[in-house]
């Protein structure tokens, strides 16, 4: 039987699938705008807006509103804390995966 491991607690804010997708996309680029994030994650406009607001409130992303050719454009960038937490979250998921494989063999 596996011993409980406090280090394997998943980040609830990040673990939500929509937010996990957003942060994963942002972790591999410098920044991206709202339309690209919508395309890359498949989220609806409302869902994406809601998730971005939560992530910004938690300090994981920075949102900048600007105008390009007189049209509003929302640009999103991961903060240093956001980079660290998404990387840690994926590490946790990988650890859980290998632990479950080990448990399955026992």
């Amino acid at each position: 039987m596996l011993e409980p491991d406090d280090d394997l607690i998943l980040d609830r804010l990040i673990h939500e699938p929509g937010r996990l997708a957003i942060l994963t996309v942002l972790s591999s680029v410098k920044d991206a705008d709202f339309v690209f994030l919508q395309r890359a994650t498949g989220l609806t406009k409302g869902n994406l807006s809601s998730h971005l607001a939560k992530l910004e409130e938690a300090g994981l992303v920075v949102i900048a509103k600007r105008f390009i050719r007189k049209k509003p454009n929302t640009n999103v960038e991961l903060t240093a804390v956001g980079k660290q937490r998404i990387a840690h979250h994926w590490d946790q998921l990988e650890r859980l995966k290998s632990l479950s494989r080990t448990a399955g063999r026992q």
Binding site: T24, V25, F36, K45
Partner: protein, 200 residues
């Protein structure tokens, strides 16, 4: 949710905006025609003007991708990979062309189409390092590589024919790149893509 697909969304966007390769391929073909002094391209001023017009044609293409699929800035690491791919590509193209067939004393003077072979290798390296080789890359650029490497290109310099073949390959690759781009990100008339109301 595929982690790999999400992490490569940025590079997929950058490398597979295939419509850009249509004017790119056309420019390469026009370069060959200019070398052959065909029609108005026999004038020295004609090719620069054609190049400017083709460059201008890229602006609506850029707008199409920006408005329908958004904007993304690649990370420093991705830019460095791209720069390394370019450097390797230039080295392969220049060195390979000189080695395979040139007036240089150390040239192997092989009966191959050095332009076609070099371009094919450059594109294969670039795609492999950037976004990973897709089936159509292997087929199109592999076909150009094999065609150029066939020992049938004796006689006069076949560079211009190589450029024409390359231009056609660039355009064909661009069409398939764009198809893959649309399969990845959806059709251009996709879901409601108005900008967000986050922090409205």
């Amino acid at each position: 949710m595929q982690r790999r697909n999400l992490e490569t969304a940025g590079t997929t966007y950058s490398y597979l905006r295939g419509w850009f390769y249509i004017p790119g391929g056309l420019l390469i073909i026009l370069a060959a025609l200019a070398n052959w002094e065909v029609g108005p391209l026999r004038h020295t001023w004609a090719f620069p003007i054609a190049a400017l017009l083709i460059g201008a044609a890229c602006l609506p293409i850029a707008r199409y991708y920006n408005e329908n699929y958004g904007r993304v800035s690649l990370s420093t690491r991705q830019h460095v990979r791209g720069a390394v791919a370019v450097l390797i590509g230039v080295g392969v193209m220049v060195g390979g062309s000189l080695l395979m067939r040139s007036r240089a004393g150390w040239s192997l003077d092989l009966p191959v189409n050095a332009a076609a072979v070099s371009f094919a290798l450059v594109m294969l390296i670039s795609y492999a390092m950037g976004v990973g080789l897709k089936a159509h890359h292997v087929i199109i650029w592999g076909a150009l590589l094999v065609t150029g490497a066939l020992p049938v290109w004796n006689g006069t310099d076949p560079t211009n024919i190589g450029l024409v073949l390359t231009g056609v390959a660039v355009m064909a690759s661009g069409v398939f790149d764009h198809r893959l781009f649309v399969r990845t990100f959806g059709p251009s008339k996709g879901p409601n893509l108005q900008d967000s109301d986050a922090r409205a």
